[in-house]
């Protein structure tokens, strides 16, 4: 796999900085150079949002995915850390093609956190779990001293059931495939941004946070040859596509004009000098499907209430450099690179 960063991590004197959690190349490097080699096993090496493992019994396989949620602020337009922590993990199970079954939740509470806020968060979590039909079956709670946490962190883990025959993975994209997104990008990231103390702006933007397993099930049921599914969270569409391009060893070409972006998100990006391609979604799906099936895939997505804004945004081709490129709305061409550093505050 081609490395997109050159200087190795300084494991002697280096320190964690904010960029290591940004979803960009610095984070990928931390995983590739520290976590993966040490914990190394075939499941982790799949490099997907969820891992697929066999069970002692039967042909069905287990999918397992985990996410730590450290979003700030805890409550944001369209959601809060509670429902987000349910959606974020269900989606990582769902994009493997699995049916999400069960969730676990571990809470790290900061001393002094208001119980009323905790209650709102757990209520939201419960409602999200109920709506998704995926119960939180086990949990844990720890309390840390004030100044050693930030209100509440929630780590959720999801397990799902993957029937025989479904094989999705970030390394299955191939030349000729089409790239789709299920709706406008960047809403979640911008909903969070609008609440940042130092940036605060008023906008109609609400987070797109949602559980996607229903949409995924419909897409899979449509008979389309699906190669890769992924939710463009931290790092946004741009970084997520770069991850897939690297995993699959391919290049991609996007059409900027076809990428759906809500006007308010585009406007907020202009204000802040940001690029919607790197703004997180928490309820959007990237689907890479066989080129011949792209219209069928689009129709399947658009038929679902969560996919009405779906679009075909690009295609996959051969490229030894694994570049994700884009024809700009202006008519030129450019690279869509990995996110550098920290474009966004903590959003998931």
């Amino acid at each position: 796999m081609k490395q997109n960063y050159i200087r190795p991590l300084d494991l002697k004197h280096g320190r964690v900085d904010m960029s290591h959690g940004s979803g960009g190349r610095a984070m990928a490097q931390l995983i590739d150079e520290l976590f993966a080699p040490l914990l190394g096993n075939d499941y982790l090496a799949q490099g997907n949002d969820g891992s697929v493992m066999p069970l002692p019994d039967g042909p069905g396989r287990l999918v397992m995915a985990t996410d730590a949620h450290v979003v700030s602020p805890l409550f944001f337009p369209g959601g809060d850390i509670g429902c987000l922590s349910v959606h974020g993990t269900i989606n990582d199970v769902a994009v493997m093609g699995a049916k999400p079954l069960y969730l676990s939740a571990s809470f790290i509470l900061e001393e002094g956190f208001a119980l009323a806020d905790l209650k709102r968060i757990v209520e939201s979590m419960a409602a999200a779990a109920k709506e998704a039909g995926v119960p939180v079956v086990t949990g844990d709670t720890k309390v840390v001293e004030q100044g050693k946490g930030d209100g509440v962190f929630i780590s959720t883990t999801g397990v799902g059931w993957l029937p025989a025959g479904i094989e999705l993975s970030g390394n299955r994209a191939a030349a000729g495939d089409a790239i789709l997104v299920s709706g406008p990008i960047g809403d979640h990231g911008m909903a969070i941004m609008s609440q940042r103390e130092s940036l605060a702006f008023e906008s109609p933007i609400v987070s797109d946070t949602a559980a996607l397993h229903g949409l995924v099930a419909d897409l899979l049921a449509s008979g389309v040859q699906v190669k890769v599914l992924r939710d463009p969270t931290r790092g946004g569409l741009g970084t997520t596509l770069n991850e897939i391009a690297r995993q699959s060893g391919v290049g991609m070409m996007l059409q900027e004009a076809r990428i759906p972006v809500q006007p308010a998100v585009a406007a907020a990006c202009e204000f802040l000098g940001l690029d919607p391609l790197y703004c997180a979604c928490e309820g959007r799906l990237i689907a890479i499907v066989a080129g011949e099936d792209k219209d069928k895939a689009l129709a399947a997505l658009q038929a679902h209430p969560q996919g009405t804004g779906a679009a075909i945004v690009g295609s996959v081709h051969e490229d030894p450099h694994h570049f994700v490129q884009m024809t700009t709305g202006f008519g030129g061409k450019r690279i869509v690179d990995w996110l550098t550093g920290e474009q966004l505050p903590r959003i998931c």
């Binding site: 050159i6 202006f330 061409k333 550093g341």
Partner: protein, 376 residues
């Protein structure tokens, strides 16, 4: 977005591209420097290069405030944060600029420095009001666009009688940088940097007006077209420059007339004059020490001058030996001419400042354009 989307129209771009292609004489080459990082960014972000004929080449200038910031200035800010324990506020792009000892403001933050990104000088002021027990320093960088907001903040701090707010003033002046390039041996004597004209700053010019460029047009016989930062603005400016060259003219023209006048913003100019005065000399990255090229805080506002308050003097620090930022900022080299480009030096691990801001020539080329050099 009114006044934005119209200036990014792809169809108009095709028409302008055709016009440029037609007007540019095939027998000659055109070399134009876009002074501003804003233009550099627009060119890369929208792929403008793909719409220009091969004989029109854009040279990136030194108009990126992050890129021209010398290491020693970032060191100064880091010392304020780590040694004097101030809350150091700065615009986002400064955070990743490499400083001495492998540090940057971001890494200094990870070492315990209280370093905050702000959107506005007003936010820094607010932080000072909210943290009366702490000293708050605003690390102020930028050209004439960004200077007036700093002046306003300092005047407000004085009006409020704030005792814990000060500014590490690194504001620099556009005309000095342009002079410096035009006076450089490569341009003036050696001619190794062919320079047929300038795209003049957009937002800097809203403040200083178009008049300051008249001197360059006359004295150095270089055409200047002031242009907005949208891609159609840039293309139209290129077209206007091609015409001036073809017609042997060297004038100041204003493509960005919707926002720039000849006089500029007098209110802002007065505010700046009230709060700041010329520095005798200031070190720029790439351009070395440039006389009268930057501002410092006037005596009447001395208490808001972080350099005076904390006695942290500027110490010049040489750039990384192999880094070509200096030559790139003077238009002498291109990013891909640097040995470190894309290997040792990447946006994640920038060696020079040009690899930091997306307005920096190296970062823009790496992030948006490096596919052009590679075999497919």
């Amino acid at each position: 977005m009114k006044y934005v989307d119209e200036y990014r129209d792809g169809e108009l771009a095709q028409g302008l591209a055709a016009a440029i292609a037609k007007e540019a004489r095939p027998e000659r080459r055109y070399h134009f420097m876009e002074f501003c990082g804003g233009h550099t960014h627009a060119i890369s972000r929208y792929g403008v290069t793909d719409l220009l004929p091969a004989n029109v080449r854009m040279i990136h200038g030194p108009g990126c405030p992050v890129c021209v910031l010398p290491i020693g200035r970032v060191d100064q800010a880091i010392r304020l944060a780590l040694k004097h324990n101030v809350i150091l506020c700065t615009y986002g792009d400064c955070l990743r600029v490499p400083a001495s000892d492998g540090l940057s403001l971001l890494k200094a933050k990870a070492r315990g420095g209280d370093i905050r990104m702000v959107y506005s000088s007003a936010d820094a002021l607010k932080l000072a009001q909210e943290n009366p027990e702490k000293q708050v320093v605003f690390f102020a960088i930028g050209f004439e666009t960004t200077t007036p907001p700093t002046a306003v903040a300092i005047k407000q701090a004085k009006a409020m009688g704030l005792k814990n707010f000060s500014v590490l003033c690194c504001h620099v002046l556009t005309p000095s940088a342009i002079s410096n390039i035009l006076e450089s041996p490569e341009v003036r004597k050696l001619g190794t940097v062919p320079l047929d004209g300038f795209i003049g700053p957009a937002h800097v010019s809203t403040i200083i007006g178009s008049r300051p460029y008249e001197f360059f047009a006359e004295e150095y016989r270089k055409p200047v077209v002031i242009a907005g930062f949208e891609p159609l603005d840039v293309m139209q400016a290129i077209r206007m420059l091609v015409r001036q060259v073809n017609e042997g003219r060297a004038e100041v023209e204003n493509e960005f007339s919707r926002a720039v006048s000849r006089e500029g913003n007098l209110k802002a100019q007065n505010l700046v004059a009230e709060v700041f005065e010329l520095r005798r000399a200031f070190e720029w990255r790439g351009l070395h020490t440039v006389p009268y090229s930057a501002l410092r805080i006037r005596g009447g506002f001395a208490e808001f001058d972080a350099e005076q308050r904390f006695g942290e003097d500027y110490v010049s620090v040489p750039d990384h030996k192999a880094c070509e930022c200096g030559a790139i900022l003077r238009g002498v080299k291109r990013p891909q001419d640097c040995k470190l480009f894309g290997t040792v030096c990447t946006p994640e691990n920038p060696v020079g400042s040009c690899m930091v801001s997306s307005e920096g020539a190296c970062a823009a080329h790496y992030t948006y354009g490096r596919f052009r050099e590679l075999p497919a």
